[in-house]
Amino acid sequence: MAQRVLMKGNEAIAEAAIRAGCRHYFGYPITPQTEIAAYMAKKMPKIGGVFLQAESEIASINMVYGAAAAGMRVMTSSSSPGISLKSEGLSYIAGSDVPALVVNVQRGGPGLGGIQPSQSDYFQATKGGGHGDYRMIVLAPASVQEMASLTIKGFELADKYLMTSMILADGTIGQMMEPITFEDTEVKTYEKPWALTGTNGQRKHNVVNSLYLKPDELEQKNIARYERYKVVEENEAMWEEYMMEDAEYCVVAFGIASRVAKNAVVAARKEGIKVGLIRPITLWPFPKKALAKAAEQVKGFVCVELNMGQMIEDVRLYTQCKKPVSLCSRCGGMIPSPEEVLESIRKAQKGEF
């Protein structure tokens, strides 16, 4: 068995990225994700990689764009306000169909907000953020081990579908420590014949660009891109179901909220309430099938989030409002306690949503 190590979530992301073959990191410090940059600064020079602290978030995302266009496995990381700054670059990367990994270790917002954990960038991550028609694969780790495994998965999916994978974590998972293992599994790589690697006079030059002079051509590009997104939606949704077999009520929560919610589900079961948990691991593509199935089975849903209610819109959408959905949430850097979630489950059982 591989060695156990005691890691912070942020460190696990950095180490996993290196193991996934990432040798180009461009970033700018911001709490609570700075350990990612610090780890890269320490390790990259020792393994022939590039760590570069750019002059701003905008510069760093455009460096990511450049390295991605050159066919490199490349990443950047930031926290909420920094991701807003990177949004223009995210749109250009999407419009150029190049793969990249972007990490958002969320903190409370809007504006400068605070440095405590939050999940209030759900809309920004899953619905856009930057301009134009585009999607990102959004992965939501709920443990330090998943910070590592989903980072590797994120690089693979990005290369496979030529799009950005975002790790949507939060300050708690970024900062907390858990013992984890890095398994020696093979990381998938993909040929990149479109990359700007120099022609050596041997082939026609490649072009990576998001500008189209003819509107019909731009339309066709968008349509082709959405065909690819359809394949992602069909094949790549990931979720975990917990005690759902006989559940009459369903808690939906991702990331750190799902860990708290699991405590509450266990406590509610002890009180005889038949409740289960669906934990979306990919927020885009959203686990539509799991929610649609649950909507036929349960009497109601409790959505637990660290925001004013964002994922709840997707829960209502993909259950087609067949069953009532209540919201149990805290925001601004606060986390609901297991007791608060338990109380929401009790209310659901009484028909109060």
Partner: protein
């Protein structure tokens, strides 16, 4: 354990400095000493000495903490009151230094006074299960970077090798080769082996075991 008037805890970030500093301060207070602990962490705004404010207060330990600790103000400012530790020779002072060389820069401003008095112990906290210090050589590198940053030499090592909640007596025993090698490479004695209370009780064959009561979490998280 013989105690110096000043005890400074430094090391790699996430090695357990704060938990050890807090427990050590309470340990001294229980011996009837007048103890003051200062939070000099200018690197990480989380997991601070202030988290243990209640426990320190009920043990009679004075806590000196930056004004904005545990708020949203992520400001690397030192509390002015921290000078009390080096100047008031009637107290036992504990300094909780921030991680790595970056954290140790904060210590620089007190070093001349500390060295002049000469009654201090500077402890390197080591955990071989942390990803950037898996070998004695790696830990030694961090040790030298810290000394370079604060211009003060370590005098002791604390072996705080642990895997968080998965720590068993065997986890600590498996770290002995690491810590002995670090001790021989650096020429510094192992001041103590620290471990959470439940594990420390099982380490009867080791000398100088220092049991830790860990800072309580907001709530326990189930594994997934």
């Amino acid at each position: 354990m013989n105690h110096k008037r000043l005890t400074l805890f430094a090391g790699h970030y996430g090695s357990g400095k704060t938990n050890i500093a807090v427990n050590y301060a309470i340990h001294l207070a229980k011996e009837g000493k007048k103890v003051c602990i200062a939070d000099l962490d200018i690197v990480n705004p989380y997991f601070r000495t202030k988290d243990s404010a209640q426990r320190l207060q009920s043990a009679g330990v004075t806590l000196i903490s930056p004004q904005f600790a545990n708020t949203n103000v992520d400001l690397p400012a030192l509390p002015a009151e921290a000078y009390r530790l080096v100047q008031d020779k009637s107290i036992y002072g504990i300094m909780d230094i921030g991680g790595d060389d970056r954290g140790a820069y904060a210590l620089g401003r007190y070093v001349d006074t500390i060295r002049e008095e000469g009654d201090y112990r500077m402890v390197f906290v080591a955990n071989c299960y942390r990803p950037l210090t898996p070998t004695a050589e790696d830990a030694l590198e961090v040790m030298h970077e810290i000394e370079e940053a604060c211009k003060l030499q370590f005098t002791d090592i604390v072996n705080n090798s642990n895997l968080g909640p998965e720590t068993t007596a065997q986890t600590v025993l498996d770290s002995l080769d690491f810590i002995e090698k670090l001790s021989s490479l650096s020429g510094l004695p192992v001041f103590a082996h620290s471990a959470m209370e439940s594990v420390a009780g099982q380490l009867t064959e080791l000398p100088n075991v220092f049991p830790l009561r860990l800072q309580e979490k907001y709530f326990d998280l189930p594994t997934i």
